[in-house]
């Protein structure tokens, strides 16, 4: 037998907490999936640029400078994805069957997660850059 207070707690806090955990879980899964997708995109984009990367290495451009370009590209992708995602969610959140509250501190936290995830996603591209052979630039 629940008291009135306990009933309120079950109906509000528990439900809210559960929904919050679910949303948090969805967000985490989406961030992981997005990181994998960005990694694959960056890997493909880096593969397409291997000739140019070999040329830069042949000319003597240090790895740090080429790596910076790859990381910047990944960050740009991540930030654009975050901006469009946020814009899209603000446009459609009122149509959700359950009421959703979009809070600015949450968005900033997600932004920080996106930045970290983007840097992690650039790792595959960076690895490819470091292994690029400068001799591949010459002779076809």
């Amino acid at each position: 037998m629940y008291t009135k207070e306990q009933q309120r707690a079950v109906l509000t806090e528990y439900v809210v907490e559960k929904a919050s955990k679910q949303i948090g879980m969805f967000t985490a899964i989406l961030v992981i999936v997005a990181t994998i997708i960005i990694s694959l995109i960056i890997y493909t984009m880096t593969l397409e640029k291997m000739k140019e990367i070999s040329i830069m290495k042949l000319m003597g451009i240090p790895n740090s400078m080429i790596v910076r370009m790859i990381v910047e590209e990944t960050l740009l992708l991540g930030i654009l994805a975050f901006l469009f995602g946020n814009l899209f969610s603000h446009l459609i959140y009122s149509r959700f069957p359950k009421r959703v509250v979009l809070e600015i501190p949450d968005a900033w936290m997600l932004f920080a997660v996106v930045v970290v995830a983007s840097i992690a996603a650039s790792f595959v591209g960076v690895k490819k850059v470091i292994s690029a052979d400068p001799a591949a630039a010459i002779g076809g």
Binding site: L58, M59, I61, M65, A137
Partner: protein, 241 residues
């Protein structure tokens, strides 16, 4: 070391593999190239031109021998410095078969990439790049992307890029391969002029015998070693045209 020498190689050898797969590509190649010379490097396909170019360019490590770039010895059976990339950045310019400009950078950014790597301040790098673009008559294209330029214009930008760090040596791997006859002659004459004016030694790999008369000397790879054919034809053609 004699003044005016840009490259000196002594008994450089290069082999690949071991046992049954052992291949010797270059054997005891010795040569001296002076500042201001345009050298044509010729050999049959698979004859070791690219390997030789890569060894001079501090990319491929010779199996043995000695190499000097200017007055600095860089190789004596092993690299004498761990920073071969720094040597390339500071002393060597590269020109390729195609222009190979970085497609996502505009012309001026393509030219300032190497000075930036050398920690040259942006203003100086841009001034030098603009000076070169003006020299090559493409100053108005500095904001254009490589895809917006013609093949000949891009190749001129590529030559400008090779010069932007004021190198002592330029290694050109068939720079005229993608150009028609007239543009090829223009590019080779331009290289000769650069060699003379800027006291740069240029080694140009070519398959096109029509370009040979514009070069000072012809270096051939025969029996895995290098020999020179003296060449005086049209030596002063760059200035008379």
């Amino acid at each position: 070391m004699e003044e005016g020498i840009a490259i000196r190689a002594e008994n450089i050898c290069k082999s690949f593999g071991e046992g049954d797969s052992y291949i010797e590509v270059i054997k005891n190649a010795s040569f001296t190239i002076h500042k201001g010379e345009l050298i044509a490097l010729i050999a049959p396909s698979g004859g070791g031109k690219t390997t030789l170019l890569m060894m001079i360019g501090c990319v491929e490590e010779p199996s043995s021998g000695k190499i000097w770039l200017g007055d600095k010895q860089v190789f004596a059976d092993k690299w004498l410095t761990r920073e071969t990339r720094k040597i390339r950045r500071e002393k060597i310019g590269f020109i390729f078969q195609a222009h190979y400009l970085i497609p996502f950078l505009n012309i001026i950014d393509n030219l300032t990439l190497l000075p930036q790597a050398n920690k040259t301040d942006d203003k100086t790098a841009r001034a030098k790049a603009r000076e070169l673009l003006k020299y090559f008559d493409i100053a108005e294209k500095e904001k254009a992307m490589p895809s917006q330029l013609s093949g000949g214009q891009n190749q001129r930008v590529a030559i400008a890029r090779a010069l932007v760090n004021e190198p002592q040596i330029i290694l050109a791997d068939e720079p005229t391969a993608a150009l028609d006859m007239q543009r090829s002659v223009d590019v080779v004459k331009m290289l000769k002029q650069i060699a003379l004016e800027q006291k740069v030694a240029i080694i140009m790999v070519t398959h096109d015998e029509r370009m040979l008369p514009y070069c000072d000397r012809i270096m051939k790879i025969e029996d895995k070693t290098t020999i020179f054919e003296e060449q005086q034809l049209q030596k002063n053609s760059t200035h008379s045209d």
